[in-house]
């Protein structure tokens, strides 16, 4: 059974007369796989992630998403998170006055409660946070600050991956986690993501990126090119290279000509 199966997914902005953004997406992700999603700005990559994560500002008008054999669209956003779907945001919001520590404790305990596991105590959290901080080379003071408040773009991205490490999801959706990172930060984050991937052979990742560079560190099993709300081409890691060389327009042209 596939971990995630998306069939003919159509979604529009959830207002009367809202624009249709996803126009029939088909995609299968198995446990342990890494998928890269590429495409121009505005082609629907982020929307796809948000729809998978359960954002109500989008309305699914057609198609289905099955997650571990269950109808994902029937679940609320928080249920999806508790079932192991994690979205690392492209532009994470700030939550003033709420420390990252506190926020993540609440999050982890919600997941544990959902699975009938006892909540972690302060000592266990300390240990968990320390281990994950080291993985992403972040300082302790970082998690004492309010969630994303006053964080630089790079710090926010790092915080997203740190949260993913702590939440330990089955499916990680990384939305342009590499953008806005300098070379060193990118290395650290990529290393972190890779370690997370290796630690759990069942964890699947979906990565939205514009840079082939990231895919050198996080090697995808599959690459998909999205154009205007549909996946028009899928392939192995070599597809990323083709995108790099020919551009999205080139790929579109090739598909049109049936190359």
């Amino acid at each position: 059974m596939a971990l995630l199966e998306i069939k003919n997914l159509h979604a529009k902005v959830a207002v009367a007369g809202g624009r249709e953004i996803l126009k029939g997406v088909n995609l299968t992700v198995n446990a342990g796989e890494v998928h890269a999603l590429m495409g121009r700005n505005g082609c629907g990559k982020s929307t796809l992630f948000q729809v998978i994560a359960g954002r109500e500002t989008y309305e699914v008008t057609e198609g289905s998403i099955t997650y571990e054999g269950k109808d994902l669209l029937e679940m609320s956003a928080e249920e999806r998170a508790r079932e192991g779907v994690f979205l690392a945001f492209q532009s994470p919001v700030e939550i003033p006055g709420v420390s990252t520590d506190y926020f993540l404790k609440a999050a982890v305990n919600e997941v544990r409660k959902h699975h009938g596991e006892p909540e972690l105590d302060a000592m266990q959290f300390l240990k968990l946070f320390k281990e994950k901080r080291e993985l992403l080379e972040i300082d302790q003071s970082f998690t004492r600050r309010a969630v994303n408040e006053g964080f630089s773009g790079g710090e926010k991205k790092r915080n997203e991956v740190f949260q993913m490490a702590v939440m330990n999801p089955k499916l990680g959706l990384l939305d342009e986690t590499d953008s806005g990172l300098d070379v060193d930060a990118l290395k650290t984050v990529a290393k972190g993501i890779n370690t997370l991937h290796q630690q759990d052979a069942h964890r699947a990742l979906m990565v939205v990126t514009h840079q082939e560079r990231l895919l050198k560190s996080i090697v995808p099993d599959f690459v998909h090119v999205m154009v205007d709300g549909r996946i028009i081409e899928s392939g192995g890691k070599e597809l990323a290279l083709r995108v790099e060389q020919r551009g999205y327009a080139g790929i579109e042209e090739e598909v049109r000509q049936g190359v």
Binding site: G54, T57, A77, A81, R82, F86, I95, P96, H114, M167
Partner: protein, 489 residues
């Protein structure tokens, strides 16, 4: 999948859990206000002549005053002062704690306020908490004051106001009306005429009060206003922390609560006054009923290096109208005001503070957090006045508003007057909205809507909550959660 709207409706239909009414035999005077009423109250409380004279002076002055409607950002009908009763007392009034009507004790028990010292002490051992001495005011009278003996050993007076008038007339005469004169404003003057009970605290020179003092106000009787008066005096070098809580049953008609609180801090004295106000806010769907909370609170930092801190969490009442203020008379004195005011459904609040800098090097801090949800209207109104002689005075004001939904309102009216060139006043203000993006972010971390709102709001209020005594802070946070249920759509 339940939609967010359904989820919210379920939450919104929860009730105000303090809204129960207790069938207790009470002596209530018929509605109406006249000199006779004033005389009746005074006689009922066995007051000396001077007290009655003071009340009458206030009453006669009040007749010439007008209910404020033009300047507050509040909509309310003209109140019919003849329609409500000005005195209601559970009978018979007992003298000691052991004799208090068990039914009354049960009421406070239900509200979570321990009136039995024995239990309170046991609680201390069990939870390692500091004991809190409580004065319980039920409608027009104080029904019990705990830990009096422990406090008396240190020379601290903690009793009902009525008792203070009888037992400590010199202190009352000296200080009552010295911060809020009987002619101060419409509601304070009304209170001066008809006040029924309240708390009195005197901390002698050099004494640090060993426990938190607290008054719990409960309105129970129908058609009755509550007019309590509190006076706290911290003599030279004294320190005290005082807490105030309040609830009322759910009713269709509006009930008036017009209190006066006066604080006096002498040289090097410190008074910390914290309020968690949770009067019945009115019917969430229709806006019917609820308490009209028109309160005058003012503190005088009379001595050098004295300090008064007001912390308030205002979540209840149909209307809140209060401006806990500080008169910074002593050199180097400090005034602080930390406020969280929440208006949900049809609630309205016009609240803030006045910091009057008179002495040299006086400092004041104002942190105001207004939260509006539903159709709530929330107004911050503040005055920072630095007089000519108040050289090197400093003020810092931070005034933030948080909006939930698009039918509520936040309004800010800051007034700053600086009359010398060595002083400095800073004002920072912000307005933000709990965004769908913040809520979605929390949800993708497994945190459900209601918890997400509570978390975001608590974060917003953090600077104020940290000023509250520990247990109160926890209580306030919970209360905020309950009051905000069903606020985001």
């Amino acid at each position: 999948m339940p939609t967010e709207t359904e989820e919210i409706e379920t939450l919104a239909n929860r009730e105000y859990k303090w809204g129960f009414e207790t069938a207790i035999e009470a002596e209530t005077v018929p509605p109406g206000l006249s000199e006779e009423t004033v005389r009746f109250i005074s006689a009922k409380k066995g007051e000396p002549e001077w007290m009655l004279e003071w009340r009458l002076k206030a009453y006669r002055h009040w007749l010439k005053m007008e209910e404020p409607h033009d300047w507050p950002h509040l909509k309310y009908p003209k109140i019919d002062y003849q329609a409500s009763s000005y005195f209601s007392a559970p009978k018979p009034k007992k003298k000691s704690l052991d004799e208090v009507d068990p039914e009354l004790l049960a009421v406070y028990d239900k509200l979570g306020i321990p009136l039995s010292e024995r239990n309170a002490l046991l609680g201390v051992e069990e939870k390692g908490q500091t004991p809190v001495a409580v004065d319980a005011v039920f409608d027009s009278v104080s029904v019990a004051t705990t830990f009096r003996k422990t406090l008396a050993e240190k020379g601290i007076i903690f009793c009902s106001f009525g008792e203070a008038v009888r037992e400590h007339p010199d202190l009352v005469k000296q200080y009552m009306g010295s911060v809020v004169p009987y002619s101060d404003n419409f509601f304070a003057t009304l209170n001066s005429a008809v006040f029924t009970d309240g708390s009195f605290v005197y901390i002698p020179k050099g004494v640090k009060c060993p426990m938190e003092l607290s008054t719990y106000f409960r309105i129970n009787a129908k058609n009755t206003g509550q007019f309590e008066r509190t006076l706290i005096i911290a003599d030279e070098g004294a320190q005290v922390s005082y807490l105030e809580g309040c609830t009322a049953p759910m009713r269709d008609e509006n009930q008036l609560h017009a209190a006066v609180v006066e604080l006096v801090a002498m040289d090097n004295a410190t008074i910390k006054y914290s309020t968690v106000q949770n009067w019945f806010p009115g019917d969430p769907k229709t806006g019917k009923g609820g308490i009209y909370n028109f309160v005058t609170k003012r503190g005088a930092c009379r001595g050098v290096n004295s300090k008064i801190t007001w912390t308030q969490v205002e979540t209840g009442s149909a209307i809140t109208w209060k401006y806990p203020s500080c008169i910074l008379q002593g050199d180097n004195s400090v005034g602080e005001f930390y406020s969280v005011a929440l208006t949900h459904h049809f609630q309205q609040a016009d609240t803030g503070t006045k910091m009057i800098h008179i002495g040299k090097n006086t400092r004041s801090t104002i942190v105001s957090k207004g939260i509006s949800a539903g159709q709530g209207q929330n107004t911050y109104r503040g005055l920072v006045k630095i007089l000519k002689g108040a050289t090197h005075a400093r003020n810092y004001t931070q005034c933030d508003s948080l909006l939930l939904g698009d039918q509520c309102g936040a309004h800010t009216f800051p007034y700053i007057e600086v009359r010398n060139t060595t002083s400095k006043a800073e004002h920072e203000a912000s307005t933000s909205k709990i965004g769908e993006d913040q809520l979605f972010y929390c949800k993708t971390r497994g945190i459900a809507l209601e918890d997400a709102i509570n978390m975001i709001v608590s974060g917003f209020c953090k600077d104020v909550f940290k000023e509250l005594p520990m247990e109160f802070a926890v209580e306030a946070q919970k209360l905020l959660g309950v009051s905000l249920e069903g606020s985001v759509g």
